[in-house]
Symmetry: C2
Subunit: 83 residues, 2 copies
DNA sequence: ACACAATGTCAAATATAGTATACATTGATT
DNA sequence: AATCAATGTATACTATATTTGACATTGTGT
C-alpha cells in the first residue's frame, strides 16, 4: 500500500500534552515506538482499535486526530464514475 | 486478537440505506464480502482507512458507526493503575 | 568536545487484517 | 417443493500492521 490517505496531528498533540515523547505515547497505547513513528509519518494506516486508543490518550475525538483525504483514494478514484 | 472492543452499527445502516447488501457495500468500499461480515461481527478491527471508507459510503461520521468500549480493553485494564 | 535523550530509519520476523473458494442456512418468491 | 438471493461459517492463503533489535542523526546541556 505504501502511503495512506490519512493525515494526523499526533505530533502536535504530543507537544500540547506536555512534550509527550513518542516512547511514552507508545507505552500508554501499548505499541512500540516504531509503530508510532510509522503512523505519525503516514507509512501505514493503523488499526481502528489503535486509533481509538490514541484518541483516548489525548482525550479528543478520533476524527479530530485523523482525517481522511478521500480525494486521493485510489479505490474511490477508480469507482467514482460508477456511482 | 480474537474479538475486539469495538462496536458498530453497520448492519443497521445498511438497511437504512435502502436494504444495501453486504456484497454491494463490500464492492463500494473495495473489500470482499467476508471482510464486511467479519467487521460487522466484530471479529477483528478494520484498518482506519477502511473504517473511513465505510463512513464515507453511509455519509455519517466514523465515530457514529464505530464506538470503542475502553472499559473492556485488556491493555487499558492492565495499565489503568499505573496512570 | 562529550554525553544523552529523542527521533528517523532499515531489515527480518511475527501477528493480524483481508482474500479466495467453497459450502450450509435462512427467507422470500413462484 | 424448488429456486434464488442474502447471509453465516470455515479453511488456507496473501498483504499489511506491528514487533524486535540495531544503528544513524539531530539537538540540548554540561
Amino acid at each position: 500500500m505504501g502511503q495512506t490517505h490519512i493525515n494526523n496531528n499526533i505530533r502536535t498533540l504530543r507537544f500540547h500534552k506536555g512534550e509527550m515523547t513518542q516512547q511514552t505515547l507508545a507505552d500508554e497505547v501499548g505499541v512500540t515506538r516504531q509503530t508510532i513513528v510509522a503512523i505519525e509519518k503516514g507509512k501505514y494506516s493503523p488499526t481502528l482499535e489503535l486509533a481509538f486508543r490514541i484518541a483516548g490518550i489525548f482525550e479528543v475525538p478520533l476524527t479530530e486526530i485523523f482525517t481522511y483525504n478521500s480525494a486521493e483514494d485510489k479505490f474511490k478514484k477508480r469507482n467514482q464514475n460508477l456511482r
